[in-house]
Symmetry: C2
Subunit: 214 residues, 2 copies
DNA sequence: TAAAGTCTTTCTGTATACACGCGGATCCAG
DNA sequence: CTGGATCCGCGTGTATACAGAAAGACTTTA
């Protein structure tokens, strides 16, 4: 019962940026901190390493310090996979998938919603899209890749213009999927994610000094 | 020293089909079999599960029994990623990358080579292609996906016509990469993998009864 | 004062112990 | 003979013990 819970907790803490950049994650320390033995901690750490969220250090582990190059790599993979997922969704979506996408899209674009809610809805919208592709393999890969991207997101926040663009691009993808037009869905996905990549790169450039201290 | 070695050994044994289909992999049994304690076995099993090679059973683990649906899913992901990798390789390949690809291609197409050597060279050729894309993320994902496909390959063997077609398709990809033509490289990759998928599906249909016994 | 070597401390890797839980087998009843 | 309940054994989950290795500090020497 403890190992899965521990994994989830540790994962949340990593993704929420609760570990100072560059700090060492030690099995012994974490075991005491989470009130379990080293065994579940060990398993959680290896899983998180395989998820690409942590990396081994000389003594323990550390949160993976991403480079701009990593962002480019991850996006190249994500664009390829999510483009395919969008095309597949256009071909294989059920009416229920479509209703889900519409609902989340409406939630995200509700002018009365606060930014946090809108952001969560946008994130869930992507998940719903992957589900609509009816390919569990691709869905799992995309879940992993976007989790890796979240590491770069600490302290980032969208501007209203970003949100408006996101809304329009999601809208274009949604219409293509509704119309069962795979090529258009893929093109819309590529456009959306290409812009998303630029935003993340810009945010990264803004927050990262030219020459890291280490 | 033991855990990585154990993981490699176990992985090889799984991929080589040394565990009877549907048989249970038990920590205790494997620990005795490999002459180590349960701890390294545990870690190897969780990693292999995350690799998509094993799945949990009620008591232990079992080699993932793949369905035709799984093959289609994996190929959909692989085609998307390897198409992107081919395009990226066309853009970013170094002369060393190109030399590697040529060398392996020559080895694979050497009429004096035995089938096993040619097969190994073809497999290495794909690895070299992924490297030439200079995207470690995509390379890692493709490595995992093709490992999953190997589970379906037991007792499969290419016909001479397959090998000839593979040679021609690799050749087309190689020329596109050499000529730095991303679109052509992607198209050639799609064609190659699309045919590869059909071959695997046909082999699967041939070896799998319509209604499984379980 | 700086460099090199040693020593201590600490963390990991592996093994093992112990308890819980699930599954199968056996036995009883209908 | 079949359905169900109970009991036993095996395997996993978690904790812990122990040894080996590596990093850092301290000492010694040039």
């Amino acid at each position: 019962m403890s190992t899965d819970v521990t994994y989830e907790r540790l994962r949340e803490d990593v993704l929420a940026g609760r570990f100072p950049a560059g700090s060492r994650l030690l099995e012994t320390t974490l075991a005491a901190e989470y009130g379990v033995s080293r065994t579940p901690i060990r398993e959680a750490l290896t899983r998180l390493t395989q998820d690409g969220l942590l990396e081994r250090a000389s003594r323990g582990y550390r949160v993976r310090a991403g480079t701009a190059q990593d962002i480019l790599e991850i996006y190249e993979a994500r664009i390829a996979l999510e483009g395919q997922a969008s095309a597949s969704a256009a071909e294989r979506r059920t009416d229920l998938d479509l209703a889900r996408l519409h609902h989340l899209h409406d939630t995200a674009t509700d002018p009365a919603a606060d930014p946090a809610t809108a952001r969560a809805a946008n994130s869930q919208w992507h998940h719903a899209l992957w589900q609509a592709a009816h390919n569990g393999t691709i869905e799992a890969l995309l879940t992993r890749l976007t989790a890796q991207l979240r590491i770069y997101d600490h302290g980032r926040h969208e501007t209203p213009e970003d949100l408006a663009l996101t809304r329009d691009e999601h809208s274009r993808m949604l219409h293509a999927i509704e119309a069962r037009d795979p090529a258009e869905a893929r093109a819309a996905s590529d456009q959306h994610l290409g812009r998303s990549r630029e935003i993340r790169l810009a945010a990264f450039a803004r927050t990262t000094p030219v020459e890291p201290a280490w």
